[in-house]
Symmetry: C2
Subunit: 446 residues, 2 copies
């Protein structure tokens, strides 16, 4: 339970504002769903690791225990979207592109940039199986991050059918595919040896586990940004095509990856996509392409997503294809804060100008001046008491307000206002009609 | 638990955006607090009616009953602000002006524009006893409503010390003042006879109840807007001054009201304030001026507020004066929807232009065009599949997208794009570099 004081709210709203504006330019429409869903809506959609992390809400007045929890806090924004698509099917367009920026809750161990309540910024496109959807979604996420000032991110890209093909080729039986992906998902954290131990613990035969892991042995660890991935991508796709030569679904996965990389070449995702066969993603609902955004200075990702063509069907009884991407607000803010990426003008200035209050008789005049300047779009504070002018100047300076407007008896008599620039100490008296313009000029070029 | 589909989110975000921008121009800074507070923070702050409506959260695993609830859902944004001011005293400026736009929960009977979860849009100024604060807050609320398009609202204005004085003058004992105000607060709903019955039921002697109510007998019912209130305000203030001639605190209240009405004369609240001695406000924490916004076509108010100089002291042990105003998001939306006040461009157009996809070979070209147009700030959708062009036109038209960009083999060969205006049927081929400009021109003057 955190309070967000003004500068923290400004950071959050800045990031949300940039992301929402980019998503709007990509034709996504806003959606909001309630924080609380029926527990049956959420359970069984996220895989074993996910289900454990759902915050369950107990039925009023009953004892603790899984049997009596009937509600749960939203774990992500994807499953609620699938419920909405099923519930409002007739009211939504054939291709429903929505964005949603809301909090989700996970009963996880908190770490850097990772909280039990955090905001996700999601885009999803529902209704098409075409890889145009994946490209558009990668482009939207890339443009959002680039607009925020990120230059060094990469989108790791893989495909669940490729992973299934590689598992089949290694002789891993179908029923253990989910287990094997949960283990592979930890490759970054626990290394190949750790993954092998986990595969064995989950009952894979040693030769099978070793054979599966051999595919990833030549892969460099997922580093981010800077390089052109294109030659590496071509080499990896060719390599996968050979490995999956006898596996139709796997080959179709490779073909989809090829289309995505090619189609993204002249979009905002150009140069960002990096084929990474070791990317698994934890959630069980993915069926096709999967993506995850890496930056060098954050363990874990800034966001991720993928295609989930069967999830809506779990609510509707009939499959509706879908694909989406989620950016993590808090992680973005952690990295941007550490790197000093927030615009300096965003923080610490509650107003452009403070209007002083000279004496009791002048209160109405000061308030009228403030009203005029606000109509001109300026952010104006009024000192709320009759007080010594020096004290009012000191207050403005301490609050980071750059300019002060003084309206004393002399100024009133002359129809003027004195503007003092607290940064330079400079002071000028201006005719009332020129004040707003002069303030605006000083704000843009001090 | 409601889902907000795109047009509803747009309505909500439009109102929130306008209100937040106005509050920023008034020098208020953003604050956010958690949905859940300790139950002790909330109980005993709102008066008898309020305490009953707090949603209490049971301790995990224990039986129902008030003894084991240790958390509660936020009931308003004012008490959490008072907690924040006490908790972060050293980090906040001497005068802390904050706005906060977040949901609150009340276990109330839902009615038109009234939900169990609803958003409040609050401004509060902490740290000064000056009536400049009341004036600024009334001006900010007025400017927010005026910017949204409201022309016919009035701010009913009263003062708790005036009410106390009138109660004292009528011979109501101090211990029953709270009871009497809870009853008076229902005057609009149940009329003078109903209030009288409630006063008697709460143990007032018949002569005292009748004497107290006589003060309001000459008052017209709270009608809104249109008229200049100034002569009526002057008459009412004069009347109250006579009635409270022997009551120092009451006279100070009248003086504060006089300052507020006079000081607001050249602000955005000019002509909006209407002295209304029958306005009581339900919450127990008010100590000075109280306000409530009325429009003719809504029972209940669009918002309200007042001064509460002792509430921070309940957390800090030392009084810090404060005053605030809250606008109700859902009520504003109900009235704006019924009156058709939302800008028509706000709703129903998910994008400015749809880029068609001609054939598989042209996917990259269509995506590149979309990318260019988005860089120009346009909202661009891309048809997500290779399909018959006629079907793509029909889709755009059905979604309310006004323009379609066609990039076929001919256009590509000529370095052109064909733009079709679905509203007029007109169609032009343009050089690639002129497309964005042409689209922008068509959007502003179709």
């Amino acid at each position: 339970m955190r309070d967000f004081l003004p500068d923290e709210v400004r950071r959050r709203e800045h990031v949300i504002g940039v992301i929402a504006a980019v998503y709007e330019r990509y034709g996504f429409e806003p959606l909001q769903t309630p924080a609380v869903e029926n527990i049956d809506t959420l359970m069984g959609k996220y895989g074993e690791e996910g289900d454990k992390l759902i915050f369950k809400i107990l039925k009023r007045g009953e004892q603790e225990g899984p049997a009596v929890a009937d509600l749960a806090l939203r774990y992500d924004l994807t499953v609620p979207l699938a419920r909405v698509v099923a519930e409002y099917r007739g009211k939504l367009p054939r291709f429903f592109k929505r964005y949603q920026i809301q909090p989700v809750w996970r009963a996880d161990r908190p770490q850097r940039g990772r909280f039990r309540k955090f905001y996700q910024c999601d885009v999803d496109a529902v209704g098409s199986r075409s890889t145009i959807v994946e490209i558009e979604i990668c482009a939207a996420a890339s443009e959002a991050l680039a607009t925020l000032g990120f230059a060094d991110f990469a989108i790791r890209l893989n495909h669940r059918q490729v992973l299934s093909g590689l598992l089949d080729a290694a002789g891993v039986e179908q029923a253990r595919h989910g287990d094997a992906l949960v283990a592979l998902d930890k490759l970054d954290k626990i290394g190949p040896h750790g993954v092998e131990q986990e595969l064995l613990a989950r009952g894979l035969r040693p030769a099978v586990a070793a054979g599966f892991l051999r595919v990833f042995a030549g892969e460099p660890a997922a580093e981010a940004g800077g390089t052109s991935w294109d030659p590496a991508n071509a080499a990896r796709l060719a390599h996968l095509e050979v490995a999956l030569a006898d596996h139709a679904a796997g080959r179709a996965g490779v073909q989809a990856l090829r289309e995505i990389v090619a189609g993204a070449g002249r979009t905002a995702a150009a140069g960002r996509l990096r084929i990474d066969p070791a990317l698994a993603r934890g959630l069980s609902y993915y069926t096709g392409a999967i993506m995850e955004i890496a930056v060098p200075d954050l363990a874990g990702s800034l966001g991720g997503g993928g295609r989930y063509d069967h999830l809506v069907g779990m609510f509707l009884g009939e499959d509706v294809p879908a694909c989406g991407f989620s950016l993590g607000l808090e992680r973005i803010i952690v990295v941007m804060s550490e790197r000093g990426m927030f615009p300096p003008t965003l923080l610490g200035t509650p107003a452009d100008v403070l209007v002083t209050v000279f004496n009791a008789a002048g209160v109405g005049d000061s308030l009228a001046l403030a009203c005029e300047l606000r109509r001109e779009g300026l952010r104006v504070d009024v000192y709320p008491e009759v007080d010594k002018v020096g004290k009012q100047f000191k207050y403005a300076s301490g609050r980071g307000v750059p300019l002060v407007a003084v309206l004393g008896d002399d100024e009133l008599a002359r129809g003027e206002v004195t503007i003092k620039d607290l940064r330079s100490g400079e002071q000028v008296s201006l005719a009332r009609a020129q004040v707003a313009e002069s303030i605006r000029a000083r704000l843009t070029s001090p």
